[in-house]
Amino acid sequence: MKNFYKKTSNLRIDILDSIFLAKSGHPGGCLSCVDLIYYIFKNYLNYKKNFFRKLDRNYFVLSKGHCAPALYAVVNELGIIKKKEMLSLRKINSLAQGHTHLTQKNLWMGANTGSLGQGFSFAIGYALGLKKINSKKKVFTILGDGELQEGEIWEGAMFSSHHNLNNLCAIIDYNKLQSDEKVKNIINVEPLKQKWLSFGWKVLSIDGHNYYQIKKVIDNFFKKPQKKPTLIIANTIKGKGVKFMEKNPFWHGSVKITLEQLNKAKNEIKNAKKK
């Protein structure tokens, strides 16, 4: 557990470093979902790079693709890509495109993202496909809260329960902020729980930064047979770990981080780690 927080602190630093070097990116959302991505990848997609070519395996899609730097930091930590590749974020000729680009060489990317809603459908396709090949493997996807305003999400939500995709787990990174403002001021997505329940999903709610709570729901989804598709509402803090970024929509992005801000943020994360 201690190790988990240590690792995710390091991941936060990697995220900020790569966005700093890129001169643009979305730090706020990366910091809110990185704990979830790390837990899932570390425990259920900790494959060697070439293993991702195998069809019968678990799948992960970061549907809120603007938080790709968080995914890159995680796969770097797990040795799937090199640190140099992670730090090439948003640069010319780089593997780490501004939003994930799925290629035959980089199937761990899960999906092409950058247009909200599509990653969710892509994850649904994996879940359906796994069932069609009689696989017992499972699919995870992380959605943004603002992303729920896309109509495609609700197309997919209906489809998943109708086709009984009990091998699918969608997690909402519920940090309550979207690009311009609070979600509730843009288009309110509440009541979330009732919405998804009424769409025929199993709904759970957790603190998305708490190791034990993450572990409990993710392990339970994975290890126990499910009757319905699972939705996890992960209550998170946008900018988590960096006080001046927390709960401030400015850091949604795409923003430039100055050297001064970077150092301040990194110090804060390092100090918190010591405690």
Binding site: L55, Y59, H101, L102, T103, L107, A111, N112, T113, G114, S115, G117, Q118, S121, F122, A123, I124, G125, Y126, L128, G129, L130, K132, I133, G151, E152, E155, G156, M158, F159, H162, H163
Partner: protein, 328 residues
């Protein structure tokens, strides 16, 4: 009971004539799918209209009902292809536009092996009117990297094209068709992606068609021959990649090339031909749609909007007199 009622109330939904392109597609795909277990069909509650009701009946487990939700359907096809399936995405062409961005990001960007097969393209839709008459699909999907664009001209060619489509690796957008169509394509000519076929050779002009317009061009050319104008006809069933070699070859001896399509003049067959020949000296004339269509029977609409056999015939006569004057 319900489906019977639907059929009764909405006879148009069921493709009656076995010679419509949608019916031929549905039948041949179903036949192929007996052997090819990788084929999986995605439908948006319109299998009765797209010809896929044949498939639905035979292969329940490989027929995915997506409901009237095209965006989700299109994006899912991408990941299904990564699991080794050959997903066939089907609905009316106009609704493919609704999922265009999904085709762009979730299919084209990763060059995924998905086949989009669109029925009800163009004025050929008829009475449903402008809202359903898709005149923009070729332009849209042609602009996507990695995509090949097909529009076979009759049931014979559809059979060959469908076999090729399933074997081809990479994304394809293919038009079928709603209306009854005469079968005239000689199967011996074969089919391969990126190859047009000369149906008649000519020395004055060439007309290039695709889909429903090929036969109209063919009939017009036969009539024109009777009045002494030698018009060649090319069936350009692959709009992308366009058959540049063939275009170069046919443009050597003729005065001009005329393209005819049941589609907007912006971005379709004509554009494709004109782009390919842009650094040559041949003149290219483009016939197609500039406006929305309206309700009416396909033949009435083709006549009204100038893409029927007679309009082609008249256009060539006009071109003939234009070039005769130029010679003087």
């Amino acid at each position: 009971m319900k489906s019977k009622m639907q059929k009764k109330n909405n006879p148009d939904l069921i493709a009656k004539n076995s010679n419509s392109l949608r019916e031929s597609f549905g039948k041949i795909l179903t036949k192929i799918s007996k052997k090819n277990k990788k084929i999986i069909v995605l439908d948006a509650d319109i299998a009765g209209g797209t010809g896929l009701h044949h498939f639905k009946k035979k292969f329940k487990n490989r027929f995915v009902q997506c409901g009237i939700a095209e965006q989700n359907m299109m994006a899912m096809a991408g990941s299904l292809s990564l699991l080794g399936f050959v997903p066939i995405v089907t609905t009316f062409s106009v609704f493919m536009l609704r999922a265009f961005e999904q085709a762009r990001l979730s299919i084209a960007y990763s060059n995924l092996n998905v086949k989009i097969v669109a029925s009800h393209p163009g004025l050929d839709v008829g009475p449903d009117g402008a809202s359903a008459q898709c005149l923009e699909d070729l332009a849209c999907f042609r602009s996507l990297p990695n995509f090949s664009i097909l529009s076979p001209c009759d049931s014979n060619e559809m059979e060959l094209a469908t076999k090729t489509l399933v074997e081809h690796k990479g994304p394809i957008y293919m038009r079928t068709g709603r209306s009854n169509s005469e079968t005239f394509f000689n199967k011996k000519l074969g089919f391969s992606i990126g190859k047009g076929k000369v149906l008649i050779s000519g020395s004055d002009f060439y007309i290039i068609g695709c889909g429903v317009t090929t036969l109209r061009a063919y009939k017009a050319a036969i009539k024109l021959k009777k009045i002494g104008i030698s018009v060649g006809v090319v069936n350009m069933s692959t709009i992308k990649p366009i058959d540049f070699d063939l275009l170069k070859k046919i443009s050597v001896n003729v005065k001009a090339i005329l393209t005819v399509e049941d589609h907007s003049i912006y971005g379709g067959l004509g554009s494709s031909v004109a782009e390919a020949l842009s650094n040559t000296n041949i003149d290219v004339y483009i016939k197609g749609m500039r406006t929305f269509g309206e309700s009416g029977e396909p033949d009435e609409l083709a006549k009204k909007f100038g893409i029927d056999e007679n309009s082609i015939y008249k256009e060539v006569i006009k071109l003939k007199s234009k070039y005769d004057k130029l010679k003087k």
